[in-house]
Structures are given as structure tokens and as C-alpha cells.
Amino acid sequence: MSTAAGPGSRLGDVRSGSAWATFRRGLALSPEITQGLTPTLLLALVATAGRVVVPIAVQQTIDDGLNAAGGPDLGFVRWMVGLAAVGVVITVVAAYLMNRRIFRASEAGLATLRTKAFRHVHDLSVLTQDTERRGSLVSRVTSDVDTISQFVQWGGLIMLVSIGQLILATIVMAVYSWQLTLLVWVCFLPLFLALRTFQRMLSSAYMVVRERVGGMLGAISESVVGAQAVRAYAVEGRTQQRIDDAVESHRVAASRAQRLAATAFSTGEVVAGLANAAIIVVGVLLGVAGDITLGRLLAFLFLVTLFVAPVQVGTEVLSEAQNAIAGWRRVLGILDTPADVADPGEDGVRLPRGPIDVRFEGVSYAYPNGPTVLHEVDVAIARHTRVAVVGETGSGKTTFAKLLTRLMDPVHGRVLVDGTDLRDVRFASLRERVVMVPQEGFLFDDTLAANLRYGKPEATDEELLLAVTELGLREWLDSLPAGLETPVGQRGESLSAGERQLVALARAYLADPDLLVLDEATSAVDPATEVRLARALEGVSRGRTSVTIAHRLSTAEAADEVFVFDRGRLVEAGPHAELVDKGGVYAALHAAWVSQSR
């Protein structure tokens, strides 16, 4: 699948720059492809040379064997054909060696390219990742790379061999008769020129097909991913209708492309027929005039067959080349998209472990092409403090948390950790010290233990159990049928929503950060468990700084300090009791909470 980038996509397609530039950049990024290219090309030369052996042998047999001056010379024929056979065998060996080299080099190069691109996707900010459908990101490191490998190993090879074959055939022809050579080229040249036009038509047809594949996959995936919603609202009919429409429109587009391809393919045959007819008419006239031998004329019929294959597959090869270039562009597009929230790498600051303090200085944020959703936030979080962040939905709490953990960089202002701008801190150090748990606990399709261990791969089972016990979740764990070995299902869907959050929290807890940021991380957990968790975290996080976003204000009551957001502004900050007395936004929120929870 290679669905086009969505309208809001921020990933480049490297549209600018010629195909040639793309090709060069692509090769530069996978150096394995060009390593040892010279021997490969030499082998290619030998391999193509074999293609003209048969026409030459035909000519020799007739002219110098059967029609030899002193009557048929069978000894010469045997000798010459034997030599030709040796030539054919050498060709086979050369072609084999060439193929091997090409396959090995291209596969090695493309594996490197894939892996580089994959890594770069993870280096992009969450925001850039979110502008692109997941499926499209996946296709950029899978099927798009496959189109390149397919081209290099099939179309590209054919192109290489075809060009060599055309050149050699033309040379042999020119030696035999320049008049007939001209004739053959006059027949085929328009077709070679038309190839581009055919190919353009074909590739726009295939473009439509690809777009429809994307639409079709989207429609089908709704019936799979949204199966619950589809079922609960009995919208099977509507969903099926959409799928049927998408499948049908894909079929129509594919059939249209097929009609073009079939027509383009067959023109090679027609032109070959034309060329053969012309060769015979003109060749016989030349022969009557004594300008060509019988063997040479007949050899032309064999040489023309060497022209047919290149024009027949020419359109397909060109389309493939174009697909490959497009695929290559999409892969390079990833690598060319700057990692907007970049790791300073080696030059970055390494923060020593230990309690953390944070300061926001005039921080503003706007999502790309959106209004400002966070205005001029100035606030400090001292070491060892437990901060609760509250506010209406959409007021910017999650945005605040993402800036705090450097999932995004502020548009204005800066965020300082232990006095260092977050942008200057090495990721390796930052992620070790600052961990955020988002609301929707994403779990990998593996066992519970594997998921818990995700942030700390070296943790032993004992450590896992200890952490679970410390968080007061041991009883829950023991109630699961297979304990730590319970499979959680894809995205964790074999657990209940609350259980998923418990696992995500325990996972972050095991990673043992110095600043723990919880964004509604226990929103689906029952009150008793939540309170138990909060207490456990407090107990062990004495000394740890924590920021907790929650709609359940019990968290705020227990926090050292409360930050209140309202429509993108930090409107109040202070201890719970103080804010309640103040009678502002927080007091109102709290009153609503109290009236609902007690």
C-alpha cells in the first residue's frame, strides 16, 4: 500500500528535485548499492553480448557454411556453432554472477535505508507523527522500499540488459547492412518515443489505482478497527456499502489501467511485424542488387526479435521506475523531514540523577496552523513537589504536559530542568529522568511481564513483582488467570480499560524516573484503587517530583501545589487550601467536584 500523504501531512515527499537527484540521494543513503558497481557492469556487458550470438551464428551458417564459396562447409559450421555454444555458456555464468551481485548489493542497501527511515520516524515529534496516518508511515518503511527493490531487481535489470542488447544488436546490424539498420530504427523509433507517452498515461492510471487502494483499505479497516462501534450502532449496512463502493471503484480503476497496459504491450508485436515485412521487401531488393547476403538478411529477422522485448516491457519498466522513484521520494521524505524536536546528541547536557526542578519561562504554544492554545505560562516546580494540574477539557493540560516532557517544543519561551533548557538535554538522559504516562495506556501485544519490563528491560521477575506490590496491585495481579504471563492482546485489548492504565503506570514506575508526569493516567481506575495508587506513589516518591493531571480533584487535594488552567492560560497556582479560600476558578471546580463525589 502506498497511500498518498494526507492533506495535513507534514512529511515531505521531496517533490522538488528531479528524478535524477532523488536517485543520487537515494544511492548516497544506501552506499551498499553502489559498492563494487564496476565489476557488476562489466559482467552485464558480457551477459548482454550473449544475446547476439544466435543471429550471428545463423548468418555465419548460411553465408560461410552452406553458401560457402567452395560448396557447403560443414566443418566450419560445426566449429563455429561449437564456439557459439561456448559463448552462450559464458553468458550464463556472467549473468548469474551479475544477478547475484545486484541482488545482494541492493538488498543490503535497502535494508539499511529501511532501518534508517524507521529510526527517523521515531525521532520525529509526536505531532509530526500524528499528521500522518499510521498505515502510511508503515508503508514508507515497507512497501515503498519494496517498490525500489522490485525495480532494481526486475525493471532495472531489464532496462540495463535491454539497453545493452539494443546497442549490440544495432552494431551487428550496422555491420551487416546500414540500409536495413536504418529501416529497423525507422520502424521502432516512433515506438520508443511513444513509450514515454504511454508510460505517462499508464502511470496516471496506476496513480488512481493506488489512491483507490488506500481508500479501500481505509474502508475495510473501519469494519475491523471499529467493529464494536459498527456492531453497537448496527451500521453494518452503511459500512458494507462504503466497502463495496471502494472495492468497486478500485476494480474499475485497475481494469482501466489494464486496458492501457495490454494495448501498450501489443504494439511491440505490430511494429515487429511491420519491421519484418519491410526488411523482407527492402532486403530482397538489396539482395537482387547484390548489396546484402542471404545470411545477413535472415539474421536481421532474428535481430529484430531483440527489439521486441524492450519495447514490450518498456512501458512497464518505465512505470516501475517511476513507482520506484516515487517510493524512494517517500522514504527520503521521512529522512528529509527535520526531527523538529531534535536530540542534541553528543553535544547535549547530561543531567545527573536526583530530584528535579522545572521552570516554565514565558511559554506559549500553538499546534501547527492552529490558534495559540497555551499563553505565556510562567511557573516553577520546586524539587520534591507534587503538582496537580486541573482545568476544563481542552484548556491545555495535556499540551502543558507534552511541553514539560519535551514531546513538543514551545513556540515562545523555554522550559528549564535543573536550570538547563530542555532543548539542550540529551534524550538518553532526559527520558531516563522524565517519564510521562498518557491517558490511553498503549500496550504491546505481548505478555504482561514484557510490557512491564518495557522501560527497564533488565528487570527480573522479582523486581516486577516487587514494583507491582509496592503499587498495591499485587492482589489484582494474582487474580489474573496467568499472572505475569497473561497475554494482554493487541493494544492491550484483552485487559479492561482500567487494567490497561494500571499496567501503563506500573511500567513507568518501574523505569524509575525522577520526574513522573501522569496525564489522566488513572481516569478509568476505580476510586479505591486510585487512592491506593496515589498513596503508594507518594510513599515511594518522596523525593521524586511529580506532575499529575486529573479530573478527579482528590489528586489536587493531596498535592503540594495545584496549577489551574483555563482556556490556555495558567490562571491560578498554589496549595489546595489557599486556592479554595481564594474563591476563583479552582474553588468553583472544586465545589462541582465535591457536590458530585460526596
Binding site: 495535513g8 550473449g50 551458417t61 552452406l66 557447403p72 560443414l74 550464463v92 549473468a95 548469474y96 545486484i102 541482488f103 545482494r104 538488498e107 532501518t115 524507521f118 521515531h122 525521532d123 509526536v126 498505515g135 508503515v138 518503511v141 519494496d146 479497516s221 473501519e222 464494536q228 456492531r231 453497537a232 450502532y233 458494507q240 472495492v247 468497486e248 485497475a254 489494464q258 495490454a262 504491450f265 501489443s266 508485436e269 505490430v270 511485424g273 519484418n276 515485412a277 521487401v281 537482387v288 535472415l298 529477422l301 486541573v390 477539557t393 527520558r431 531516563e432 498518557p438 498503549f442 518495557y454 522501560g455 479492561s496 489522566e520 481516569s523 476505580d526 484503587t529 486510585e530 463525589s597
Partner: protein, 603 residues
Amino acid sequence: MRDERQATLREGVRILVRAMRDEPVILGIAVAGSAVYGLATVATAEVIGRVTDRVIVPAFRDGETTTGALALAALAIMVTSLVKAAGIVVRRYFAGLGQYLLNARYRRQVSRQYLRLPLSWHHQHSTGKLLSNANADVESSFWPIAPLPFALGVVVMLVFALVSMFLADPALALVGALLFPAILLLNFFYQRRLSPLATRAQALRAELSGVAHESFDGAMVVKALGREAAETARFAKVAGQLRDANAAVGRVRGAFDPMLDALPNLGVLAVLIIGSVRVADGSLAAGTLVQVAYLLTITAFPIRAIGFVLGELPRASVGWRRVRAVLDATGALPHGTDRLSASGDDGAAHLGLHDVGYSYVEGTPVLDGVHLDVEPGRTVAVVGSTGSGKSTLASLLVRLVDPVSGAVLLDGTDLRRLEPGQVAAAVSLVFQQPFIFEDSVRDNVTLGLTVPDDDVWAALRLAQGDRFVHELAGELDARIGERGATLSGGQRQRLALARALVRKPRLLVLDDATSAVDPEVERRILAGLRDAALPSTVVVVAYRRATIALADEVVYVENGRVSARGSHPELLTTSPGYRDLITAYERDAVERAMAGTNQEKRS
């Protein structure tokens, strides 16, 4: 191993037969076109041979020729090549048409199954697998259909080619009689070596895609825990395996392709040796020699079509096996023919659960002997600790799954006995985790139901979602990205709530549907629901007092059973578990306050 291969081959042939039966006319035309092509190919060589003998050789010998002879020769060559080209167009176009028709037919069937099969079936299959069943697996099942007519036409071609050669010269025909089987045999070995390697590469490609998908899906977690390097290593490992698998494919292809290219050439050389002896002793015309050599040259490539089909068969049968697994899956929720009484249409529904049990994994019941009776118009709160089975209960009410034991009754009728569509028309569930379609706001609310925009707005207002929708560019027409990525958590929930409300359900089930909404907004939503005096029975899964306060009755679920039911104050006194759960915040606040005063006293 051998048996398995034969089984695969048999299965592959069955797919071909099935395809021919499904699209007999289209594929028949393609085969006919291909046969014409095969005949024309043989005819081309015949024409070249005759022209050589009757026109070219005499002209060279005599030093003169006639316009008539030349014109006839040119015409004959042109006509055969036009016929051949026409055969190619028909063959390729109709073969493609057939292939796409088959793909479309089975894609529709597969997706129908997805929509028909119960959720429990969906739970057992990963999203990625199901998507590839409908796409890649269907495609590879019918991939051999494209070269099939070609291959059948080639069989015709081979028969005629041998006949034509025997008629021309039995000695030369012997070369063909040896060469053709040799090419077929080589092809056969080629495909036998290649197909397991190709299948492995295919499997690795799917695996790689699965790794990338999961990794990008969880990109946020990867980032939050700084695991980019580990994820890259995981990906690089599979990418490396795929590289090696592809290189293995390449080694086989790289060896066999040149050999297949070379065989016909060696055949032509053999014809030249044998033929020139016979031409020299006068028992053969030069034209016949040329004819046979030419025939071998131009049939060399088409013969490989048989290999193309054979080579695709293993992959096709793997794909087809997966498609079949979906098509043959049973266990769709059976429907009855009963309808809910018409009189009850606008009123609230009566809900009954009789001794309901459910388990995801056999032997570990999630729900067990649940009894519940909810009179029309009443609101029941379902309360229980994390993982106690509340969502499972909710999904039983809209019949996402059927109970393993017992029955769910709506107005006294077992859900299983109702006509399709009846349950959804009467019951709406708001999921704990809202699913947002990649669509406009309007379509996300209506899901195709034809309702005026006023009603959509009314529902949004009730869900407290009108304000943020007004702020979106395009309002109801605003498009929402994949899984609602551009909305905040609370905004997604309110959209999902509006979706249920716009249907004016007779039974409304809210599964913790306001967890991501702040207390103030939640208060407004609840007040709205109360004031709207919905003509519905409401089942609400909740923890918050305010939500529970809406309820006429509370059901406390513990270990998969209803352990207590009654009014909230009753349960507070009768059920210690309930009390612990519900008063957790208060107790916490009190304990903290006490700890605080203690500390103050101490200091």
C-alpha cells in the same frame, strides 16, 4: 515435505478451477485470445519459412523478384502479426479483468464476514492480519489468474509448434521435442526451489509490516520511555532476515533465469548443426531450417508462462487458505424473527438479565449468574472495581456478545430472538473508549442515520459538545483525523455521547462515558440528561457520586456477580465493598486532614 508440496499443488489447481467457474465468460475469452495468440506465433514462423523458400531464396539465387511476390510476403507477415497482437490484447485485458473481478468478489465476501462475525471472533484476530486477509491474501490467491490464460494458450502453441515442426522436418522436430520438455522441466525445478523461499520472504514482509505498525502505533510510549534504539533494533532484526530471504530468492532467480534464457539458444544452435547437414545433402530446404530456428527463438519466452503460473501457486494456496479461514468462520450471532412490540416504540424499554454468565477464556468466568431487572424509565448505576466485568456487562446489553449462559431480555424478549437491527434501534451504548471514524463531525454523530442538523446540534448540546464543534472550522462538516487524533480526550467522549443521544434510544447504556470530562462539564451533562427527561431506561457505569445520584437503583458488581443492589444509601450501609469503593476519596481526604492536623500539632 513432498506430500505437503503435492497438497499445495492440488489446492492451487483447485483455486484455478474455482476461478474459472466464478468467471467463466471473461476468463474463457482470455483463454480464447491466448489460443489465437499461440496459433499466430506458430504461424509467424511458418510464414517466415515459406517466404524464405518461395521469395527470398529464389530472389537471391535468380537475382530477380516480382512485386506481387514481395507484396504477398509483406501482407502475410503483417496479417499474422496483427492477429498475434489482437490475441495479446484480448488475453491480457480479459485476464486482468477476470483477476480484478475475482479480487473484488472475494474482498466483498471477506468484509461481509467481518461485519457478520461476532466480536469474540474479532478479539481472536489481530487487526493487521484481518486487513491483510482482505487485501494481500485475496490478491495473492488470484495472482496466478493473470498468467493462467497465457499458460493455457502456450499449451496450444506448443502442440501446434511440434506439429508444425514434424511436418517441416522430423529430424529438426526432434530438437523441439527434446527442448520443450527440457525447458518445462527446468521451469519446474526452478519454481520448486523458488517457491518456499518466496513464501518465506512474503511471510517476513508481513512480519516486518506488523513490527512497524505496532511500533508506530505505540510511538508515544516508545518516546516516553526512550526506547527508540531498542525498537530500531527489533525492526532491524526482521529487516535483516528479510534481506537475507530476498537475497536467497535472488540467488535462485539469478541462476535459473539465465539458464532458461540460454536453453532455446542452444536449441537453435543444435538446429543449425543438424539442419545444415540436411540442407547440404539436399534433403531440407533452407527456409525450413530458418522456420524451425525462428520458431524456437520466438517460443522461448512464452513457454515460461507455465512457470509463472506454477510459481505463483504455493503463494496462492497460502493466501487462499487464509481467505478460506475467514469465509468458513462460523459463529455469527444468529438472529430470530421477533420484533419488539410496536406500542413500546417511543417508550422506555424493560431490561432483564437472567442468570447471565460470560467468560473470555474458558474456565475463568468474568460474569457469573447475574440477575437484573430494570423497569422501563428507571436509571440503574453499575458500580464495581477495576476489571470486575462492567464493560463486559454493557456489551451484553447491546448484544456485542451473547452470554455463555442465561439470557438478556428486552421487553421480555431474548435478544437472540430479535430480528437483525432491532437491538441497535432500541439500545445505544457509549463506549468507555470512544471510537471516532475518520469522517466529518456530522457523520460521526449520525453514522448514516438521516436526521436533520437541528437534531444533531441538539444531541451535541446535550452532550456539552456544541461549543467546541462551533469552534472547529466547518463545524458539522469539519473532518476528524484517524481515531480523532486532533481532539482532546474529553472532546472525543462528548462526540461519542452525542452519537448515542441523537438516536433517542429506549435503553441508553453509558460505560464510564464521562471519565475524561472535567467535573463541571460532567455536571452539566448529567443535569441535561435529567432535564431532558429522556424516555429511556438508563444503565450507567460510574464511580462518581453525582452520576450514581442520578440512579434510582445501584447495582454493585463484585467478582463477576451482583453482590448487592438497592438505593445508594442502602448500599452504603449493607455492602462494605461498595462503601469502601465509593467513599475512598472522602476517607482519603479525612485521613489526610487528620495527618495534616497531627503534623501541625506536632510541629
